[in-house]
Amino acid sequence: MKLMTWQEIPIGGLILEAGNAKKFLTGDWRSQRPILDEEKCINCLTCFMVCPDGSIVLKDGKMSGFNYDYCKGCGICAYECPVKCITMKPEEDFR
């Protein structure tokens, strides 16, 4: 993202566009990546309830993976999953 100059930005720290947090891909911050073992998942949706970033992707009401654009890798889903079917893997493994 090209950073703007002081002449280009609104004064006083105002953000003029509503809902533009969507453009800020916080997935960049992740150091651990959650990986799902679909075989073991019982679709209880605990992960969906506890994810602080709304990054659990549902398809037809079922757990179907993670939105890595916004998942910060906090590991809460993995910790809370009752059948331990989410594992946190170091992000380097995927580079």
Binding site: L3, M4, T5, W6, I9, P10, I11, G12, G13, L14, I15, L16, E17, A18
Partner: protein, 401 residues
């Protein structure tokens, strides 16, 4: 030159009443109030205007000055013309939000009734309250008397809300010395004053629900510095806006204003810089000494932030000696806050006046005409002998003589 034909009446006002009268004419949308001596009477007088339906202001009674400034910031962000007023410890309690008001670029106008900061606790005049937040990003003006308090407040609205500025303004008047003394004040016609300040059209009010936006977000390494640079520019732009507003005010109302007033300074050899009510007393001292043939003069500083360093240097560079009076200390510094700025301003001159700094009048200690005459004499000696040149000392503290 007075071209003003505006209707006006003379009223006997204390400084606080003059401030309240200006606020009545400004008719702010919101005023947040919390009492503190010696400011209390200003808001008492204004509250009675609200109660009697003389203004349409929403008066918000808050539980502390921190809340008063917070409510004012909220109202201003919402798009209101918002004001509050305070003194000393009240201003100190507002501190955190005072900075936020400036960096959020909210054109709030706040009368400050200058009073010594505790401790030991004291309710009388000095400038430690306003000088304490000289780096907060507020425009700072000092008033010599009730008339200037009234005139400055009206101009402050225009300066603060100017699109090139958008910064808050604090207008100081000396606690008790001005705030509680009755003086004759020319009050201009309501409509003329309202015409001068104009309607406020905020660019991005929070109440504009068709265009929702975020106010006060987290601002980290990538943009904080750009926002400070903008704020810096707003303060730089204020220099011209203050001059233009003072000129326009003069043309309309007949009272002319600049960054400072020069009083017998042009052909003076010994000059003095003072602000607030002391400048008025110093004018009498200058006149007395002029009668004795002494070439003395005064520069009454009206605008302290932005500091008018270029114009000030031009006005004082011909002097042999310059004595700078500070009504507050900057503990551990080379001198009081006015002296620091004056010294820095003179720095690039090859031939500069001999300077000296006196810290005086703390906690309301009187500064009389005779004192000021004596000080001019001291400065004359410093110029002749070099003794005391560049020094900063207390004036009037027992034990120093």
């Amino acid at each position: 030159m007075t071209t003003a034909t505006v209707k006006k009446i003379r009223r006997a006002f204390t400084g606080n009443e003059a401030g309240a009268e200006a606020m009545r004419q400004i008719n702010p949308d919101v005023a947040a109030v919390f009492p503190i001596t010696p400011q209390t009477e200003l808001m008492h007088a204004f509250a009675s205007f609200v109660a009697n339906g003389k203004v349409k202001t929403e008066l918000v009674m808050v539980e502390s000055e921190h809340s008063a400034m917070s409510a004012t910031v909220g109202a201003s962000a919402a798009g209101a013309r918002a004001m509050t007023a305070t003194s000393a410890n009240g201003l100190a309690l507002m501190w955190e939000i005072v900075y936020i008001a400036a960096s959020s670029r909210l054109p709030i106008v706040m009368p400050i009734i200058n009073r010594a900061l505790s401790g030991p606790i004291n309710i009388h005049c000095d400038h430690s309250d306003m000088m304490g937040c000289r780096d907060s990003g507020w425009i700072q003006m000092f008033s010599e008397n009730s008339q200037e308090e009234y005139d400055n407040l009206i101009q402050a609205i225009r300066i603060a809300e100017h699109p090139d500025v958008l910064l808050p303004v604090m207008v100081g008047q000396d606690g008790f010395i001005i705030s509680h003394s009755l003086e004759s004040v020319e009050v201009f016609d309501d409509e003329e004053v309202r015409d001068f300040i104009g309607e406020y059209h905020p660019k991005n009010p929070l109440l504009d629900t068709d265009h929702p936006y975020t106010f006060g977000p987290l601002d980290l390494q990538d943009y904080y510095m750009e926002h400070k640079r903008q704020q810096h520019q707003g303060m730089q732009n204020a220099r011209q806006v203050i001059l233009d507003t003072g000129k326009e005010f003069g043309e309309k109302f007949g009272h002319h204003y600049s960054n400072f007033e020069e009083f017998h300074l042009e052909d003076a050899e010994i000059g003095m810089i003072a602000l607030g009510s002391t400048a008025g007393t110093a004018k009498v001292a200058v006149e007395n000494l002029r009668e004795q043939g002494k070439k003395v003069g005064l520069l009454k500083l009206r605008v302290f932030r932005p500091f008018p360093f270029k114009e000030l240097v031009e006005a004082v560079k011909h002097l042999k000696g310059l004595i700078v009076l500070d009504r507050s200390d900057s503990f551990g510094a080379m001198g009081g806050p006015v002296f620091l700025d004056v010294s820095a301003s003179l720095n690039n001159l090859t031939k500069k006046p001999v300077t000296r700094n006196l810290i005086y009048g703390l906690g309301g200690r009187d500064m009389k005409v005779q004192d000021l005459e004596k000080i001019f004499g001291m400065m004359e000696k410093t110029v002749k002998t070099g003794k005391g040149a560049g020094s900063s000392q207390y004036y009037g503290a027992r034990g120093d003589d």
